[in-house]
């Protein structure tokens, strides 16, 4: 009985944050976290992670490679609120301040198998014209942080970028209308997705593998 009619389905995701393309920046690290609905519950693995700092590759690709593993398992009763992975990339600016370099989110692929996703990243725009202007967009040299008092004075020359109060908002629609963003770079993710019991609960996400259960399995059919 327990195997015949499971009460939850499982979504196992492993993979990695492979690499990123941020042509202007170097020495970046990334954070990831998952945003999921109320009916979802992580059962194993890590919901959040913070990667090592990576430097640009010295070849023409100039890729920032992390190969930072993701491994998480969710259980759920409802596909509503399917998990999304939220990525935020940070790195130092000219003054050595740690600023955000990009936010991005993508749904964990629905169908089992190996999936590669390249997600465009973006950052919120500053509301002030001056700050936009002073924002160092130039290719910064790999210089040590600004020495002397200028660095310690925080608001002297705004190297600060606006950030989301919570990176998770990029996975939601609420309140986004008040923000303006600018696109910036790409991050490539690799997912290996395994689902369990989804078909038994009547959710068909896979490509048409028709073997096994022939159709949806309405719960009413099973006597208690």
């Amino acid at each position: 009985m327990a195997t015949a009619s499971p009460s939850v389905f499982l979504l196992m995701v492993n993979g990695q944050v492979e690499s990123a393309q941020f042509p202007e920046y170097d020495d970046l690290y990334c954070k990831y976290c998952f945003v999921y609905g109320q009916d979802w519950d992580p059962t194993a693995g890590l919901e959040e992670g913070i990667s090592q700092i990576t430097s640009k590759s010295q070849d023409v690709r100039q890729a920032l490679v992390w190969n930072f593993p993701i491994d998480v398992t969710f259980k759920s009763t409802n596909p509503y609120g399917w998990p999304q992975i939220v990525l935020s990339v940070y790195g130092p600016d000219v003054f050595g301040n740690d600023v955000v370099r990009g936010y991005g989110a993508v749904h964990v692929p629905f169908s089992p198998g190996r999936h590669k996703r390249t997600i465009p990243m973006f950052v919120p725009e500053s509301t002030s014209k001056l700050q936009k202007f002073t924002r160092p967009t130039l290719r910064q040299p790999r210089a040590p942080p600004w020495p002397g008092p200028l660095c310690s004075s925080p608001s002297w020359f705004m190297g600060r970028r606006p950030e989301y109060t919570d990176p998770k908002v990029v996975a939601q629609g609420e309140g986004r209308e008040v923000t303006r963003v600018r696109s910036q770079g790409f991050v490539t993710l690799l997912f290996n997705v395994v689902t369990k019991d989804m078909r038994k609960l009547g959710y068909d996400t896979g490509p048409s593998d028709t073997q096994g259960v022939s159709g949806p399995n309405p719960p009413q059919r099973f006597p208690q």
């Binding site: 002030s128 989301y164 109060t165």
Partner: protein, 1619 residues
Amino acid sequence: MNPREEKVKIITEEFIENDEDADMGRQNKNSKVRRQPRKKQPPTAVPKEMVSEKSHRGNRQEPVQEEPKTHLLSMTVRRGPRSLPPIPSTSRTGFAEFSMRGRMREKLQAARSKAESALLQEIPTPRPRRLRSPSKKELETEFGTEPGKEVERTQQEVDSQSYSRVKFRDSARKIKPKPQVPPGFPSAEEAYNFFTFNFDPEPEGSEEKPKARHRAGTNQEEEEGEEEPPAQGGGKEMDEEELLNGDDAEDFLLGLDHMADDFVSVRPADYESIHDRLQMEREMLFIPSRQTVPTYKKLPENVQPRFLEDEGLYTGVRPEVARTNQNIMENRLLMQDPERRWFGDDGRILALPNPIKPFPSRPPVLTQEQSSKAELETLYKKAVKYVHSSQHVIRSGDPPGNFQLDIDISGLIFTHHPCFSREHVLAAKLAQLYDQYLARHQRNKAKFLTDKLQALRNAVQTGLYPEKPHQSLDTIQKTINEYKSEIRQTRKFRDAEQEKDRTLLKTIIKVWKEMKSLREFQRFTNTPLKLVLRKEKADQKADEEAYEAEIQAEISELLEEHTEEYAQKMEEYRTSLHQWKAWRKAQRAKKKKRKQAAEEHPDDEIAEPYPEEDLVKPSPPEPTDRAVIEQEVRKRAAQSRRRPWEPTLVPELSLAGSVTPNDQCPRAEVSRREDVKKRSVYLKVLFNNKEVSRTVSRPLGADFRVHFGQIFNLQIVNWPESLTLQVYETIGHSSPTLLAEVFLPIPETTVVTGRAPTEEVEFSSNQHVTLDHEGVGSGVPFSFEADGSNQLTLMTSGKVSHSVAWAIGENGIPLIPPLSQQNIGFWSALKKADAISSIGTSGLTDMKKLAKWAAESKLDPNDPNNAPLMQLISVATSGESYVPDFFRLEQLQQEFNFVSDQELNRSKRFRLLHLRSQEVPEFRNYKQVPVYDREIMEKVFQDYEKRLRDRNVIETKEHIDTHRAIVAKYLQQVRESVINRFLIAKQYFLLADMIVEEEVPNISILGLSLFKLAEQKRPLRPRRKGRKKVTAQNLSDGDIKLLVNIVRAYDIPVRKPAVSKFQQPSRSSRMFSEKHAASPSTYSPTHNTDYPLGQVLVRPFVEVSFQRTVCHTTTAEGPNPSWNEELELPFRAPNGDYSTASLQSVKDVVFINIFDEVLHDVLEDDRERGSGIHTRIERHWLGCVKIPFSTIYFQARIDGTFKIDIPPVLLGYSKERNMILERGFDSVGSLSEGSYITLFITIEPQLVPGESIREKFESQEDEKLLQATEKFQAECALKFPNRQCLTTVIDISGTTVFITRYLKPLNPPQELLNVYPNNLQATAELVARYVSLIPFLPDTVSFGGICDLWSTSDQFLDLLAGDEEEHAVLLCNYFLSLGKKAWLLMGNAIPEGPTAYVLTWEHGRYLIWNPCSGHSYGQFDIFCPLKNVGCLIGPDNIWFNIQRYDSPPRINFDVTRPKLWKSFFSRSLPYPGLSSVQPEELIYQRSDKAAAAELQDRIEKILKEKIMDWRPRHLTRWNRYCTSTLRHFLPLLEKSQGEDVEDDHRAELLKQLGDYRFSGFPLHMPYSEVKPLIDAVYGTGVHNIDVPNVEFALAVYIHPYPKNVLSVWIYVASLIRNR
């Protein structure tokens, strides 16, 4: 001039040329053209130069020429250092030449005008001009060598030679300025013009002309050779070298001389008048006009514009181009390209359809690097079923084989086959003709038309002679005319039909005859065909009569027709004749005139155009002759009709003939037959280009018919795209050859098996077959004639008879795929067009609506994209399909409902999900909704359902008092309605909610931060930094903490010496009398020494409880303790919902309780004192401060000194004053009584409170007044942005009301007035107390922080709940009614924040009343919680505080001084006399004492139960005696408002409970609900005593005030029996 010098000259000239080239190179083409003639000059320039100079000057008419003297002058000047622009020509033209020049000029002018006119006539376009110019020029130049000029030239020669050297230098210099005058060379330009004109030969040079011509002719070749641009510089020299040889010396010399002159010469200033310049520019430049080009210019002559769109062709959408730009382009194109290639037939520029996509598309995010990787990567892809990948899947879910197509192939007939003998060919032909005949016969069109004709004739007859002329003559005539034309038409058709019939019959007979002759010729028969002609005799006479009648009728009709025609023609003739005559007349007159003109201007005649054509004299039409017509008619009848004497021939084809057996046939025929026998045929059935089955192979019969009679049932999965039959022929045992393919139509869905007719489909093959026997072959010419003439080439062809239909299933259901799937293309096109209508294309769509939509949206019917839609519409409008005459909303809802509504509602899971999405509080945060209904417990819904049920039932259990229950219900309803009203604005985010960003650095901040660099790192007076604010949305349990910093307290009550209780009763009684701080001096400093063991007066500590979490500080000592401790309390939002709305409706209160820690020695045995300490710690409640969470939430932080709420009676404690300790702030402490505590409370992290919506509400106020309020507020906010200014408020129904309308004298309850009839002050205090007894309920709690609603005083009293402003308004109104001067005071206070107080003017001083507590403060009271004052509101005006300070002690409350108070209504805007929103009078019901008593008992019972509940591990004993004593005491407290009773009470208590150690106190609260009472009792911690023999006493007293305002007193005490 010696040759060497010449050479030098030439070289310099080269140099100049080159240099010029280089300089001019970048000039435009025109300049090149201009220069070209000059290049040509060297060999021949000599005379031309002269002419050019002349002409140039002649044209320009320089003033120089008019005054030759100036030439000299100028010449001299030119040589001067100033180097004026040289004028070379002047050097050459001496005085002597002047007359000659004049003559030249004359000639030139004449020639020029002529040339111009000639040019205009001949060469309209400038292009040929350029080409021609060189050769022309050549010709002309030669003319120039006239003897008349010879003299002049020699003279010049001398001249020029004399200064040639100088000129060199000059010219060298000249090079430089030259480029500076870019348009420079006007002379060259003019010269060019000159040379391109035709001149008349000069009379002087006429003798030499032939010679010159000749020479020119010979020269021309050279010139032309040269004209091919010599790329190298050297080439030119060579040419010149050649010329040097070729030309005669004199000429050359002269030429050279002048050539040098030309290039090296000094020229006059290249002035150019603006007029010339403009002229030139006009020639050179073309400015396309912006005018619209008339269409006729854009089209070839005499062509009407053709609009393809009007003709119904699709033209597509043209890209948007501004009209003016289009015009410019058109003009330009017309100028450049006169062939009008760029214009379409409609006279517009050809344009492709607009390529711009209307929607932007995001490019894919593939990077290059990734694509290269992707190549290396192995991707696993599952094998996909064809069914699924096909676009035309019928339905993936359906089990395959549901649909069946039946293909019935009955047979095959060859209409030609290579093995046909000649007879077969004829037979096939005959059969075909016969079929045709049969078909025609069946239709019998001729007969039909004859009948029709007859009927029409009859109609005309009756129409002409109507029996009853009831119609107007006109209409009759009209109908008759119509009939007649109809008759004509019909007759024509009939004749044609009859003729066809006849020819067909004739052909049949002919073919049959041919066949017969063939059979005879070959002496055998191959086919069983036999034609029998049956003659049908008719009644000859009748026949003849009919025939004749017919002819006669026809003749008469024709005659009529002809006469009509004749009349018409005559009319035409007459008019044309008239015209002609008129024209003749005019012509004659013209001729005459012309003759005269010709005499005067003989030349003009040629130019005269002949616009009129000679009109031909019209000839009159000829009348028709009846005889001729009759002849014609008869002839035609003979041709097309059966003659009356002829019998009707009916051919009948039968297969009755016998075929000659093989042995009687010749060899060739036998071999043919054998060959036929060898052949067999089969068919393959291809479905979607895949072979699905094939027929059996059948031998070809002698009659070339094959019968299959097979039915194939195709169970199909894919939608049929094509259905093909392939005809294969096998000869002997060789491999089959494909003869032909037959494409079968896919049947309509209506065609099902049984109903499908057998159809024949023709096929033909293009194979070439030549056979060595009688067979005629295929694709090979053959002939029936012996001589091989009349050749025929036949291809193999035939017919397949078949039927295709959809099968019918066992239960009679046709196995047809659903209709909606059928038109895939159609479907998708519709989808593009309109998604909504596409949903319903399966026949449910309202076609009329669709058609209307199409008409309204102006669909281009010619657009190929719309084709299917238009087709659909046309079908729909033509009414072929079923058009429902109703419109169905959500047509497909039934189909989409996968389960019925009842079932859906029954599903618990769905219900749970639905409730959760509705954010019903119980389910808002429900996690993991189970998958199956059976896993959802029924109890999940129980609470919710109960709540729903209870909504309308007044629950009295909680509220105890029915009135309050009703009020609570009402409040709930108001709250809901208000919330619904503002639901839209709920999701309201600010940028700051989403994004953290540092402040924008403006200049001042930048400067400030620079300044900060020099600042000290650790300033002496540090300032509190603002914290990061956090929006509520991302929080979860445990994220929020409440920080309570307890700094210090003042004047904590001190213990009475407990040990001396019995011994010193008198002393204690004395002490009691001195309780009031008003007489601190009475305390003796020695008092302190009374305490034994040096025990301190009090050991207070603070306990903070919030949401049942309790924290406490360490214990300090003394009545003025300093803790300086921070307590951290976690905060949990209700239901785990941290949204702003939820947070601000948190009703929890922070209780800050001050306790005294008392140590009791409980050592039983004194002997053990040496070895152990047995002490019990008791804590005695001293007082509390209550701060609602909502206040903290909205204030973000609360910082200040608060009065501790100490019960009026605190047994065992007294407000002792230690003078030594108090000395420091003696003056302060003496001003106020009571104890104080300094606190700092905040929330970590700081939460952003939801802002109330500044929305415009509807209002019944005057528009002017509203504008004034806005203005007033804006002005105030500009000056003092932090001061509260209120002009309009929102009443409980959500409309804006002017604030002064709330203030109006209102009568307080008479009961209160009766208490102190003569003491106004006491009455005022009583009234304030009454107001403060009305429970406090902040609007933010009740209305979710949406807005601050003001209820009127009667509403407030009905609701018995409200926040500061309602209290203040009521109090103010009472004061006004008492005759006091009172104002509503808006300002900030602690801890409330922005609040409303009441200000009164009493006996020369201002009193500030806190309406919620009922306390009054003097203006200069430093413990007054009001911290600043924004504005004062009276019943008729508003005054805004514009003083420098706003704290009450520092301001002047005299509102009459306009410098200090800005009034709203002033002289400019007088008070309009606004009516009040308050009721006329407040009506108070007398309180129900019985109900109060009942409530009192119930509360007592509840509290007792609660206390027992809180002590689960101990026995709770109640001391009845004590309770009754307390109960007796409480009314006294109420009467005295807690004043002046303690001493008596204490005495009494001591008297009665002498045996007990007593600790207890009365609590006083306004009554709203039971819960706050319970909380208050819990907060005191009385129950915490765990002494085994403790007893408790609890008494409740409720004093009812009018209008059900209840004052609750709870006396709670613990008693410990002393041993």
